[in-house]
Amino acid sequence: MSIVTEKKDSTTDIINGFHKLKFGEAKESRERAIGNFSRLGLPTDRSEEYRFTPITKSLVNNFSWSTELTGSTINSIDEFRIPGLDANILVLINGIYSAKLSNIVSPETQVKITRLSEAFQSDKEVLVQFFDKLVNSEADAFAAMNTAFWTDGLLIHIPANTKVVKPLLVLHINDASASQVISHTRLLVSLESGSEVTILEKFDSIGNQSVFHTFSEEFVIKENAQLEYCKIQNDHGKSYQVANTLMHQSTGSKVNTFTLTLDGQLVRNNFGITIDGESCESHFYGLYLMNKNTLADNHTVVDHRKPNSFSNEMYKGIIDDSAKGVFNGKIFVRPYAQKTNAFQSNRNILISESAKVNTKPQLEIWADDVKCSHGCTTGQLDEEAVFYLQSRGISYKTAKAMLLYAFAAEVLEPIKNETVKNFLDQLISQRLHKDF
């Protein structure tokens, strides 16, 4: 059977699956989304946005589109936590929130956390205002799939002028010990004006079967609010993941994001931020260290709509074995957004002969008084630098590890929480065999 027929069959299977399900909440948006999905279909190799990431092929080869939830026997989350981090722990297993394994330590005056399904009863006003407003189900098949199928998620609300002292750690765990897992989860985070929060998300799987996880999240960041956000993707080799992370920024707000991808068979991150206010400052950092035959694809969109804001994006990759990295970075500066400063860079090091990177910066600037720059580089390890270190008695292996680590560690610098930073540093060090 050709891939085209298989793709068509899978799309049909997915749509049929939808009609068998009975959803309690968000019916309208689900119906709309499945309509979009059936119009879009799973992306083909000719879909511009998925040209370098053969996700549909992977999905039709590895999954049957059953809509049944897979059970889990996980009863401890110790191995998935960040050691030493005093945080609110929010656990989603196979797409369902576990109140038992979660632990909310911050008082409700600082942060209100509600299961999304319940929020449709209790916080209807907030949802009407923000839910599914940023995720674009009309343009992306996986965003549509997620909006149609989401099983659970969280509404996180931070009141005005409040600082959430302890970070929030969202653990996405998929247990594929018994059978394949397909899960679709969501997050809606609303930061009222002047509020501050650190949100971390960590993705893990156990078991030997395949996992397909779509994940959509919306962040509404009001005036002068501050968000520190970190995504840690260190999943196992049979995990396929599509994340749609959308943010909306108002005047005077600050956003720092860090996306670390270390593992997972195929990871696609769609990240989009609308900078819809003046005097905003935003930093987007990313690091992907891929090996074996894994693939990490970061598609980012930074949309400057108002004047006088600053954004800086830096994604770096180290690709080994037959792994592949994809980066696509769009920056829009709208006509009204004068005095925008927007910078972007994507740098890659290929370690092996068969490692690959596809990188594409796309800048569209309609304003005339702006400072924008972009640059992308892909190369091998600097042999001159390796030789220099060797000439001082440092072994080839150590020299290589030192240089790769130095290259990678730069993106960790802006992370403020020391425990998190040390944890990430350790993950990177292990991956790069740093032993000096």
Binding site: E383, A385, G393, Y396, M402, L403, A409, F436
Partner: protein
């Protein structure tokens, strides 16, 4: 300490060294001079073990070991130090961390215990004075954004830290103003002892006013065509290289 016999080497299919003979004994300073393209830097590169240079004949004995059998790092661990003409910039690696790794890998090779943080810092502070280098410079990424003079001083600082038996200074004077030259030369002179040797590769006599050599060799077309004492350098300064070229042509 070092004995080079009939050394021949090529780079990118081009024969550069055509039979070099040189003997260096502990306590000596040798200057290698010569016009551009005579093979001076190639000789330095071959000694330090740079991969692009292929040795096509001859031998190099360093303290009883065949140098050509050793990897670049093992040469350094055996006591060879190369001060580069163009030290590379390495973002993200501070000189301090780099030196700690370097020193400890060398010590490990020699069967010595690694230095703890305190002893390392004490040693570092002592050597910093020698080359008048500031600690803030050493905390920064290696050579990144350093001026020409700072880079060369950093090379000599590293040399002071590693206390090599044989140091090779490859065009260390290039790009230095007179003050930087004096500081670098002072550092080198303080490291001179009866137990170590130095090879100074240079185009000009200028550096040799400060680092006074015991022997001067003139390299031309990949061979040492003339050897003498420091007076030879002065003669070259006064007369240029042409008379040497003519001598070679006549012979």
């Amino acid at each position: 300490m070092l004995r080079i016999k009939n050394l021949q080497a090529k780079v990118a299919e081009k024969q550069i060294l055509n039979g070099i003979d040189l003997k260096v004994t502990a306590g000596e300073v040798h200057a290698i001079m010569g016009p551009n393209g005579s093979g001076k830097s190639t000789l330095a590169s071959v000694l330090s073990g740079r991969e692009d240079y292929e040795v096509t004949g001859g031998e190099i004995d360093f303290q009883g070991k065949n140098l050509l059998d050793l990897s670049p790092e093992d040469r350094a661990r055996e006591g060879i130090f190369m001060a580069f003409q163009y030290p590379v910039e390495i973002p993200g690696v501070s000189t301090i961390n780099f030196m700690k790794t370097s020193l400890n890998q060398i010590r490990e090779y020699r069967g010595l215990p690694t230095l703890d943080a305190v002893s390392f810092l004490t040693l570092m502070k002592e050597k910093m004075k020698l080359v008048e280098i500031d600690q803030s410079l050493l905390s920064r990424a290696l050579n990144q954004g350093f001026s020409g003079g700072e880079k060369k001083r950093n090379e000599i600082f590293q040399m002071a830290m590693l206390e090599p038996k044989l140091a090779i200074l490859d065009e260390t004077d290039s790009g230095l103003d007179i003050d930087a030259l004096r500081i670098v030369a002072n550092g080198v002179n303080m490291l001179r002892s009866k137990n170590n040797a130095i090879i100074v590769v240079t185009h000009y006599q200028r550096l040799l006013d400060y680092i006074v050599p015991d022997f001067v060799h003139v390299l031309y077309k990949g061979k040492i065509v003339k050897s003498g004492t420091k007076e030879l350098a002065l003669e070259l300064e006064a007369k240029g290289y042409d008379w040497i070229k003519n001598e070679v042509a006549v012979a």
